[in-house]
């Protein structure tokens, strides 16, 4: 997994609440067996008209937002389907940091598996940051220090220490879990005795 440390970018602001993963990447693009190549179809229905032409007033179709690495969105972002294609599409487009006041659980977890940092801030802070998007000014995100730096100010954000570590070091959590292999093995052994029906033995 690619590491996340810090970044500086003009944020794109999409002030819509409850953006679901069908909106982020519609079902017709889930037929792939790869993780890459989904960026061109990110927010497909908002981004292209029925002829496949870019819709000019959609923010990610405009300069400089078509190069934004930070996306600021309304609350409950990523609700609905568990499809990891949603963070894959964001990543493939170039977005590695999302800022919202809340996320749906599955999407939130999926971000961390893909080197994307989802930041949670209060609504008034989000409004403040969105001004930077409108003025096309850069903001900086520093994961190590858990802060966003903009103009002469900064905002602290909080993040789970394990998730932070995985992002900073680009850790493979399967390798970490496999370090507990002995524990898994003894759990299974015990389970065969106490609940033999689980293994259908």
């Amino acid at each position: 997994m690619q590491k996340f440390n810090s970044l500086k970018s003009i944020p794109a602001y999409l002030p819509i609440v409850n953006i679901d993963t069908d909106m982020i990447i519609p079902a017709q693009f889930l037929k792939t067996i790869k993780r890459t190549g989904l960026g061109k179809n990110l927010f497909y229905a908002m981004r292209y008209d029925y002829n496949g032409t870019e819709i000019k007033n959609f923010i990610l179709n405009q300069k400089p937002y078509n190069n934004s690495q930070i996306l600021i969105v309304g609350k409950n972002f990523g609700c609905g389907s568990s499809r990891e294609h949603a963070p894959w599409a964001l990543l493939d487009f170039g977005i590695t940091c999302v800022i919202s006041s809340s996320y749906a659980d599955i999407f939130y977890n999926n971000c961390f598996k893909n080197g994307i940092l989802p930041i949670i801030l209060e609504e008034d802070k989000i409004k403040e940051l969105s001004e930077y998007s409108k003025r096309k000014e850069e903001i900086s995100v520093d994961l190590k220090k858990e802060k966003i730096i903009f103009g002469n100010s900064e905002i602290k954000f909080e993040i789970d220490p394990f998730k932070k570590k995985c992002l900073l070091e680009g850790l493979d959590d399967i390798a970490l879990s496999l370090e507990k292999e002995k524990k898994i093995f003894s759990f299974e052994k015990n389970l065969k005795n106490t609940k033999p029906w689980i293994f259908n033995d």
Partner: protein, 467 residues
């Protein structure tokens, strides 16, 4: 300390408590399908890892299969590659698969219970948000992403952080014409799509206990639409009877042992819940959605909301956006909303009881001329059962199409989808923008209400067709 059912299942599955507050939990049952698993298998291969417990894993193709004649295979090239990839992966890693032509094939959340693969007190995962369905059996059923699918394949465990406990009590009995779909739509309307975020919901109360196993599945299924990590119900005799003699259920002395264990699965009387709400059955009416979020619900005798009457700016904008997308004017009666299509099926409402409920309304009636309608049974076994009962004839005679099993128009991955601006009365679970096809307009409702809408040609009150 008194514990909830969720606490108990959690503790029973704890392999390792990590210092950072997360836990490694053992996974008893892993369901996989063609859409969210190929990348997981690919990564397993590139990192030289194996599937730890292929025997605890069951695979089926459901999202991307055609619901029309399957004798010629899949014509869509990409869909075919995905379904073939699942078959190849299952063969390589020794996982049991119900392929497209297997009678047991169907929607992953319907076949799990049907086969007895789903069992009380287990942790069940699947790369699909509607995994919540299996909570109806008193299992902790969690929807996961593809990276987590890979993690479970490789380790048979899942890294989780404990959620809060949220109990929703529903008391009383179901009024005539009201189904468990109406109950869950009302709950989502009440708590909102993020109301359950950070929680596991336990459904309790006399009305919940009075529901059949299949009705409970509908409730748990849409738990994810309320944002919760999982939803579950204390298992009881109805659940044990349902599971008895299912192909993958415990047999002989294992059955005795399992049942003894299952009988103990309940929240302690004095268990503490972080959040709790109570609904009364008598207050629940047939529901429909008017907007583009499952929380946008209204009773069938209600009206479409008016954004001008909303003071919260986010809500106002959100209502306006939904009305524009749905092509609806504020303050109109929902019964005046004319529909073009009807879809009966999905993991929410594609089981035999759902088909019986709809068929009861449709018997000896014709659907409106301008409506095209289809039934997609949830599995090959549901289809077979329905045909034995003659339900297929009732549907066909009334003007419905009778299809092969799969996810179909619930998410419009295969050929079954709405055209722009087409309006559909659907028994599925999501009315998101574009969910049933780009520009398509979805109204969620129960199977009986879908049947009533098909006959009337517009959203209608099913109680009109009942005695």
């Amino acid at each position: 300390m008194p514990q909830t059912l969720y606490d108990k299942i959690w503790n029973e599955h704890l392999v390792h408590q990590q210092e950072d507050g997360t836990s490694l939990l053992f996974v008893d049952r892993h369901l996989i399908h063609e859409v969210t698993s190929p990348q997981a298998f690919e990564s397993l291969r590139t990192s030289g890892r194996n599937v730890r417990q292929p025997n605890l894993t069951l695979a089926v193709a459901d999202h991307n299969v055609p619901t029309t004649d399957r004798s010629k295979g899949i014509s869509d090239e990409e869909s075919k590659i995905q379904v073939d990839t699942l078959e190849k992966n299952c063969k390589e890693f020794g996982i049991q698969l119900f392929d497209m032509n297997d009678k047991r094939q169907g929607i992953v959340h319907i076949i799990g219970p049907e086969q007895g693969f789903t069992q009380p007190g287990t942790i069940i995962v699947c790369g699909d948000s509607h995994t919540a369905t299996h909570g109806a059996f008193g299992a902790l059923a969690i929807g996961i992403g593809t990276s987590e699918v890979e993690h479970v394949l490789a380790t048979q465990t899942l890294i989780q952080k404990k959620s809060g406990n949220f109990r929703i009590n529903v008391n009383g009995t179901l009024p005539i014409g009201v189904t468990s779909k109406d109950v869950i739509l009302q709950i989502i309307g009440k708590i909102g799509t993020a109301g359950g975020t950070g929680y596991v919901i336990e459904y309790a109360g006399s009305l919940i206990s009075s529901l059949s196993v299949e009705q409970r599945m509908t409730i748990c299924n849409m738990t994810i639409e309320g944002g919760a990590r999982a939803g579950l119900i204390q298992p009881d005799k109805k659940i044990f009877e349902y599971l008895k003699n299912k192909p993958m259920s415990p047999k002989n002395e294992n059955w005795e042992k399992a049942e003894e264990y299952w009988n103990k699965l309940s929240s302690d009387v004095d268990a503490k819940f972080d959040k709790e709400i109570t609904l009364e059955g008598k207050d629940i009416k047939p529901m429909v959605t008017w907007g583009t979020s499952p929380q946008d619900v209204v009773t069938i005798d209600g009206k479409v909301p008016n954004p001008e009457k909303e003071f919260d700016i986010d809500k106002k904008n959100s209502i306006q956006r939904s009305l524009n997308y749905m092509g609806l004017k504020p303050d109109i009666s929902v019964k005046d909303i004319k529909i073009d299509k009807v879809f009966i099926g999905s993991c929410t409402n594609g089981r035999i009881e759902d088909l019986r409920e709809a068929a009861k309304i449709l018997k000896d009636k014709k659907i409106a001329n301008h409506v095209s309608a289809m039934v997609v049974p949830g599995s090959g076994l549901v289809k077979e059962q329905a045909e034995q009962e003659g339900l297929d004839k009732i549907f066909i005679n009334s003007g419905f199409e009778w299809r092969e099993p799969g996810c179909s128009m619930c998410l419009a991955m295969n050929a079954d989808k709405l055209k722009p601006e087409e309006r559909c009365a659907s028994t599925s679970n999501r009315n998101f923008e574009g969910r049933q096809g780009r520009g398509g307009r979805t109204h969620l409702l129960s199977p009986a209400m879908a049947a009533a809408a098909a006959i009337s040609g517009s959203l209608d009150d099913v109680r009109k067709y009942q005695n």
